[in-house]
C-alpha cells in the first residue's frame, strides 16, 4: 500500500532570524542571535493559509518528520506512517511543517553550532533554553512562512509540551492542538532519569566540560549510556518481555565472561551506538534540562489559570503502558481544560509499547487524529 513511488521527497530548509542587534530574548534573560531553524514542509499551503499543521518533535527527534530526502534514502522521517498522501495527516489536504528545536543538533542553532565569530563552537556557553523559547522560535518561523494561524499544532512527549505552550502563549494562532503522551510538568521520576543521563555524559572524560568539539572527539560512551537508560524508559516491561525475553544473543549458554549474553543487551548497545552517530551530547544536556524546567503550573500559578486563555479545540491522548508520561498526567491537562469547559477530548489507548507507542503504527491513533483534524478543518472552512 505504501509503495515508494507514492512517497514524498522532502528537503531540509533553513531560516535565520534574530540577527544582532535584534537577538532573541530568552526566558532565562539571556540573548541568542542569530538563530537558525532547520525545517521541512510537506504538502501545499492553501490560498487562505488555513491548512497549516505544525508538528513538534520530541527529545531525540528532528525536522525530518516524514518523507524521504532522496530516491536512495533508506529511512523515511520519524512519523512517516502518520503523514503522507492519503494518510492520517494528509499531505494532499494539509501543509505540514516541522522544525528542529533550538538547542537541537540537526541543523538548528544549538551548543554544537559555531559562535557568530566562527572560531569555536558554543559548547556550554550556549544559553539554557526552555520549551517556551523553542515555541517562540517556531512562531518566528511561521511569521516568515506567512502563517498567521495554525489549523493544528501537535506533538508527543516534549512535542506535547510545545503544543501546550502554543495553546497557552498563542491562543489566537492555534485552531486546534493535539498534545499526546505528555505532561504539563515532568514528574520527579522523569527528572531523575534525565539527571542520570546527564551524569553519564559528564562522567565521560572525553566530554571535557563540554568543550569536546574543540578536541575532535565526542563523549560517545557517556551519551550512549544516557540513551540506553532513556530507551528503557520509552518501552514497557511487557514490550521488552515480548521482544527479547531472556533470549541469548547468538549463543546457547551463558558466557561467564561479561561478554554480550542477552538479546536485550545487544539491542540497547545498538540503540546507544546508533544514537551517538546522529546526536550531540551537549544538545542532550540542554534539551533534557528544558524538559525538566517545563512547568505550566509554576509559570501561571495553576494549570487552570494557564488554560483559561485557551481557545483551541484540544485532543489529548495517552497510552496505558506509558509509565514515563502516565495517563494521569495527560488527564491533568484534560481536567484543567474541563474546568473552563474548553472543547477538549481525551482518549487512552491500549498499547503494550510504553511511551514510544505514539511513534508506532496504530490504526486507531491514525483514524482519531485524521477525524479530529478533518472536523476542525471543515469547521474553519465554513466559518
Amino acid at each position: 500500500m505504501k509503495s515508494r513511488t507514492t512517497e514524498i521527497q522532502v528537503a531540509k530548509q533553513f531560516f535565520t532570524f534574530a540577527e544582532p542587534p535584534h537577538e532573541m530574548a530568552l526566558e532565562s534573560g539571556e540573548k541568542l542571535g542569530p538563530v537558525t531553524l532547520a525545517y521541512e514542509t510537506l504538502g501545499t499551503l492553501n490560498d487562505s493559509r488555513s491548512n497549516a499543521i505544525l508538528i513538534c518533535h520530541a527529545l531525540s527527534g528532528d525536522s525530518h518528520v516524514a518523507g524521504y530526502y532522496s530516491e536512495t534514502d533508506r529511512k523515511p522521517g520519524w512519523w512517516d506512517f502518520m503523514i503522507g498522501p492519503g494518510r492520517s495527516i494528509d499531505t494532499d489536504k494539509y501543509f505540514i511543517i516541522c522544525s528542529n528545536i533550538i538547542a537541537g543538533c540537526q541543523g538548528s542553532t544549538g551548543p554544537s553550532s559555531l559562535l557568530p565569530s566562527g572560531d569555536r563552537h558554543y559548547n556550554l556557553s550556549f544559553p539554557v533554553v526552555t520549551v517556551a523559547d523553542m515555541v517562540r522560535a517556531q512562531a518566528a518561523l511561521l511569521d516568515h512562512l506567512g502563517i498567521e494561524k495554525l489549523l493544528c499544532v501537535m506533538g508527543g512527549s516534549m512535542g506535547g509540551m510545545q503544543a501546550l505552550e502554543w495553546m497557552v502563549e498563542y491562543p489566537h494562532r492555534v485552531a486546534s492542538a493535539i498534545p499526546h503522551a505528555t505532561t504539563s510538568r515532568l514528574n520527579a521520576q522523569g527528572i531523575a532519569f534525565h539527571e542520570v543521563g546527564r551524569q553519564a555524559i559528564y562522567a565521560d572524560p572525553l566530554w571535557r566540560k563540554g568543550d569536546y568539539l574543540e578536541f575532535g572527539q565526542a563523549p560517545g560512551q557517556g551519551l550512549a549510556v544516557a540513551r540506553m537508560l532513556a530507551h528503557i524508559t520509552y518501552l514497557s516491561e511487557e514490550s521488552m518481555r515480548q521482544k527479547f525475553g531472556r533470549r541469548l544473543r547468538q549463543k546457547e549458554r551463558y558466557g561467564y565472561d561479561f561478554s554480550l549474553d542477552f538479546e536485550v543487551e545487544s539491542y540497547l548497545r545498538y540503540q546507544g551506538e546508533a544514537f551517538v552517530q546522529r546526536f550531540d551530547a551537549n544538545s542532550y544536556l540542554y534539551i533534557t534540562k528544558a524538559i525538566d524546567y517545563f512547568d505550566l503550573k509554576r509559570d501561571y500559578g495553576s494549570l487552570e489559570e494557564a488554560f483559561s486563555r485557551v481557545t483551541a479545540q484540544v485532543l489529548v491522548f495517552s497510552f496505558n503502558s506509558d509509565w514515563l508520561f502516565p495517563t494521569y498526567q495527560n488527564q491533568e491537562i484534560v481536567r484543567a481544560l474541563k474546568v473552563h469547559r474548553k472543547a477538549v477530548s481525551f482518549v487512552e489507548f491500549n498499547s503494550p509499547y510504553g511511551h514510544d507507542s505514539f511513534l508506532i503504527e496504530n490504526p486507531q491513533q491514525e483514524k482519531l487524529v485524521a477525524d479530529f483534524i478533518a472536523h476542525v478543518y471543515d469547521q474553519q472552512s465554513r466559518s
Binding site: R335, Q364, H375
Partner: protein, 204 residues
Amino acid sequence: MVFKHHFTRPDLNIIFDLIPPQSAVLDLGCGEGSLLHKLIREKQVQGHGVELSDESVFECVAKGVPVVHSDLNEGLDDYPDAAFDYVVLSQTLQQVARPDRILPEMLRVGRTGIISFINFGYWRVRGSLFFRGKMPKSKALPFEWYDTPNIHLSTISDFRRLCSSKGIQIIRQINIVHHKQGRLLPNILPNLFTELAVFVIKSR
C-alpha cells in the same frame, strides 16, 4: 421551532426537546455522541460527553463532539460545581456502580439533570418474571442475567424513592410506552404501564 427527530430511541427525542438552545450540556455515557452532535448542530449547545467505550469515543471525535474517555464510576470530580446547565444520563443509570452517588453528583456539576431509564416495573417485565420465572429479556433488555451490564435495574417507584431520600426534586416525569409518550394508563399507573421514563430533576 420544530425540529425533526431522527433518534430511534424515543427518550433521546424527548431529551433533545427538553434542552433549550445555547445551553451547556454534559452527557454522561454519551455513546457515539448522536444526541450531543444534534444538539451542537441544531441548538448551538456547548456539548461535552463522557464515554467508557473507546470505539464510541472515536465516533464522537469524528463527529466533532468533545468527549472524554473515562469511567463514570470514578466520579465527576473533574468538573467544578454548576459547570453545566444540563447533565444528561440516558439509559445509563442502570449501568453505574452507585446510582445513589451519581445523581447528587449530576446536580452538583449541573443545574438540571435529565435521566432516562427502562422501567422494571412495566407489566410485561413483571409478567416475564411472574409467568415464566425467568429474568426478563426484551429489545430494550437484550442481555442474559449473567452477562448484562445492567447491574442496577429499577422501577419508577424505586427511582422516585431514591430521589426523595437524596433531597432531589422531580420537576417532570415523561412516561413512554410503545415508543410514544404515554397518555392514559401510563400516566395513571406509571410504574405498571410505562416502559421507559424520562425524569427532569433538580436539587431541592
